[in-house]
Symmetry: C2
C-alpha cells in the first residue's frame, strides 16, 4: 500500500481542518492507503521534508481537528515556477514523494493551489513518478469557479452576518442620543460575497445592515452619503457593511486612494474608518466602525454546519476520486435545490477551475447596488444554515494542537533556488 | 397594587436584557407589583412618557428577551442636573410616576446611572412622592466598585478571549511566509479588564496572545518593540491585545497622540492600526489588526452562561430589595470562592458605588506588565465560564423586537429645559 500527503495552502478558514479530517478518515476507511502524512507549512513543508504522521491521531483527535479553525498543519504562500522554466522544485517534491512512498497528493486551498496541484501532477508524469493529485477546495472568498460555494465561505459568512445583526441592534438601542452610524469592514478584495452575506441579517425592511458596499459596484460618494442620511432620518440609525476592496469609479480601492490623499503612509486604517470619517465630516453623525480581519475567517465558534459538512465531504470525495485514479480534479459542490438546500459533489477538471475568479453577479445585488436582491438572498441563505459548535472548556473553545513529532527525514536538506520567490502576501 | 418602571442606561451589553427579564419575572412572581413598564430610550423615555407595557410579553417572549443583546428597550446617555440647581426634570419624572401609578424604579446601567438612580430616589422624597429606586448593575467595562464583577463584562470577556485565541492560531498557521504579528483592539478607555481577559486564551506558555497592553500600564515603545521581536524570533509570530485607552508615560492616550502627530483629523484608525504601523516600520514585520468595537459588547451568540445567570439574578434581586423597601441600593455580586466559582448577591448602598472606578490592580498583571498574573487569571477565569447560546433560525441568532405599541400618554409633552445637555458621548 502507498502513502498519501495532505497539504494546506493560502489563507486559512474556520473549516479547512474539517477537510483534513475528511481526507484522513476516508484514507483510513479505504484500506488502500497506508499512512497519511501532513505537510508542515504546506508545499514548503513538502519541499523541506517536514512531514507529520497522522497515524497516531485517534478518533477524538480527528473530531478536535475537524472543529479547529485555521490551517492546523500550517499553510504557506509559495508560487512554484513553471516546470519548463525551472524543474528543481518539482524534482525535489518527487524525491520526497518517492522517499516516503507517497502516491497520492491532496492539496487543500484556493485558486492558486488548484493551479499548483495541477502543475505538480503534470510534472510528476513528465519526471517519471506519476502521482495522483486531487485539489480540495477552500477559500473564504467564495471566488472559485464551478462549485456552488467554497468551503470556508459559509462560516465566515455566518460570522459577518451575525456580527452585523448584533452590532445593528446595539447601534439601534443607543441611536437616540449617541452614534447614528456603524460600519463593519469585511474581507473581500475583489469579490463581495462576504459583504453580501451581511445582507442576510436584514429580515425586516428597516433592519440593519441598511447598506452593503460591494467591490463589484463602483463607490459613489454622493449616492452613499444621500442614502446614509435618508436612512438615519427614516430609521433613526444606519448600519453599513463594506468590503475591504471597495473601489471608486476608476477602479482604485478607496483604501489606496485614502492612503494617497493623506500624508503618505500616515493613513493606517482600512476602508471602514475612512468611510466613518467621511460620514462624520459630511453629515455630522457620530460613527462607530469595526474591522473584523482574521476574526471572521477564524471564527470556528460560529461555524456554519452546512459549511462544516461540505468541507468534510470534499475531503472524503477527494480520496474517492484519487482511489478511482481520477487525478487533476477538484471535488466541487453542486446545488440541486435552494429550499430545502440539497447538494452533491462532482469532479471538476482543474483546468476549468484555474480559468478565472468568480464575482458576485449583478443579479444578486439589488437595483440600487446597495443591498442583496432576492436571488442573492436565495443563493446565500442555505450556506450559513446550521450551527456546529466546537468543544468548550473553561469557557473557551478547545482546539487541536499539532504534535511536535516529525517524520524522520530521509533526504539531504533542500536549498530552494527559489527561496527569494516565497511570497509574503496578505 | 402599584406599578414599576424599568429603564436601561448607557452603552449596552450582551446580557442587559437578561436583567430586564429577571426584573419582569420577579415582579410578576411577587404578586405585589401590577404592571412593569419599560422606558423607551431610558430616562429620556421616562421624561417623555414613552412607556412600553410588558404585560403582554409571554414566557417565550421573555426567554427571547433574556437571550437578546443590546438595550432592547433603548438606552440613552443623559445627565440629570443636581436637584438644587434645577428641579424640573425630577418634577417631571415624579409626574410621570404619579400618572402611571409607579412606585418602583429599576435603573439598569453603570456608574453614571447609579448616581442618577440615587438622585431620583432622593428627589422623589423631597418632592413628596417617595419612590423605591434600585440600581441594577451593568457595564462591559467591569469598572463598578463593590461588586465581584459587572454583568455584561463576562460575555464581552468571553468574546475577546475566544477571538484572540482563534486569531492567534490563524496567525500561527500562516506565520511561515506571511504576517508575523496580529493586534486586536478591545474596548477599555480607562480600565483594562477586557484586554486582561484576552490573556485567558493563553493556556500554554507559547500560546497567543503573547502581549497584553493595559491602559493601567504606561506604554513603553522600546520595551514593546523588543518584546514583539523577541516573541517572533522565539515563537514564530506574536499576537497582541491592546485596550483602546492605552496611554503613554505622560498619561495621553496613544490614539490621541497619534492624531496629533498625523495631520490633524487625518488619523482615522484606533490604537491597533497605530501599533501595527509602528511594528511594520520599526521591525519590518507584516502585521494584521482588528478592531472589534460593538461586536464585542453585542456578541450574545457567545455569551458567558455565568454572566447571563448573574445578569438575570441581579434583576431578580433588585425586585426583592425594592419589595423589602430597601431603596438606594444596588444588588452586587459577592464572590464566595474561586474554584468552584460560587457567588451570592448582596445589597450595596449606591453612595458607595458612585465613589469611584475600579481599575485592574497591579497584582492581576504579570511582573513584565504585559500579561496576566496568576491572581488575574484566577479572578477572570470563572466569569467567562459556560455557554448560553441564543435561538438560531435560518442560520442566524433570533432576537427580541420591541413592540410598536406605547402606553397612552396622560400628560402634556415635556419640553426639557436641559435638552442641550443630552450627551452624545461614545
Amino acid at each position: 500500500m502507498k502513502n498519501a500527503l495532505y497539504a494546506q495552502a493560502g489563507g486559512p478558514s474556520a473549516v479547512i481542518n474539517a477537510s483534513a479530517a475528511g481526507v484522513i478518515r476516508a484514507c483510513r476507511r479505504s484500506g488502500q492507503i497506508d499512512t497519511v502524512f501532513g505537510a508542515h507549512f504546506g508545499v514548503l513543508g513538502a519541499l523541506n521534508e517536514n512531514l507529520i504522521d497522522t497515524s497516531p491521531f485517534d478518533d477524538a483527535t480527528l473530531e478536535l481537528l475537524k472543529a479547529t479553525p485555521a490551517a492546523a498543519f500550517g499553510a504557506c504562500r509559495h508560487v512554484l515556477h513553471d516546470l519548463a522554466d525551472d524543474p528543481r522544485e518539482y524534482q525535489r517534491l518527487i524525491d520526497v514523494f518517492a522517499a516516503h512512498d507517497i502516491a497520492y497528493f491532496f492539496y487543500n486551498g484556493g485558486g492558486g493551489s488548484a493551479h499548483a496541484c495541477q502543475a505538480i501532477a503534470q510534472a510528476s508524469r513528465r519526471l517519471g513518478y506519476p502521482i495522483v493529485a486531487v485539489h480540495v477546495p477552500k477559500t473564504i472568498d467564495n471566488d472559485l469557479l464551478h462549485t456552488d460555494c467554497s468551503p470556508g465561505f459559509g462560516s465566515a459568512a455566518k460570522y459577518v452576518a451575525t456580527s452585523i445583526r448584533e452590532a445593528s441592534i446595539d447601534l439601534a438601542s443607543m441611536s437616540h442620543t449617541s452614534s447614528k452610524v456603524f460600519i463593519l469592514e469585511t474581507m473581500g478584495r475583489y469579490a463581495g460575497w462576504l459583504v453580501g452575506a451581511c445582507g442576510l441579517a436584514t429580515e425586516h425592511p428597516n433592519d440593519g445592515p441598511h447598506l452593503l458596499l460591494f467591490p463589484e459596484i463602483p463607490f459613489d460618494e454622493t449616492q452613499f452619503l444621500h442614502q446614509v442620511k435618508e436612512t438615519v432620518e427614516r430609521v433613526g440609525y444606519c448600519a453599513i457593511a463594506v468590503a475591504e476592496g471597495l473601489r471608486d469609479q476608476t477602479g482604485n480601492t478607496l483604501h489606496a486612494t485614502g492612503q494617497k490623499d493623506a500624508a503618505g503612509d500616515r493613513q493606517l486604517g482600512g476602508v471602514a474608518p475612512l468611510l466613518a470619517h467621511m460620514v462624520t465630516q459630511q453629515l455630522g453623525y457620530k460613527c462607530h466602525w469595526a474591522v473584523a480581519d482574521y476574526l471572521q475567517r477564524a471564527a470556528r465558534h460560529l461555524a456554519s454546519a452546512t459549511d462544516v459538512a461540505q468541507a468534510y465531504a470534499v475531503g472524503e470525495a477527494a480520496v474517492a476520486m484519487a482511489l478511482d485514479g481520477r487525478h487533476g480534479l477538484m471535488p466541487a459542490i453542486r446545488r440541486l435545490s435552494d429550499v430545502p438546500y440539497r447538494w452533491d459533489i462532482v469532479g471538476v477538471p482543474l483546468d476549468d477551475i484555474i480559468q478565472g475568479d468568480r464575482f458576485v453577479p449583478r443579479e444578486f445585488i439589488s437595483a440600487s447596488g446597495l443591498h442583496l436582491s432576492e436571488a442573492g438572498r436565495r443563493y446565500l441563505a442555505p450556506l450559513i444554515a446550521g450551527e456546529d459548535a466546537p468543544l468548550f472548556k473553561h469557557g473557551l473553545p478547545q482546539y487541536f494542537r499539532l504534535p511536535h513529532d516529525r517524520v524522520p527525514k530521509k533526504l539531504p536538506p533542500f536549498q530552494s533556488p527559489l527561496t527569494s520567490r516565497v511570497q509574503c502576501q496578505v
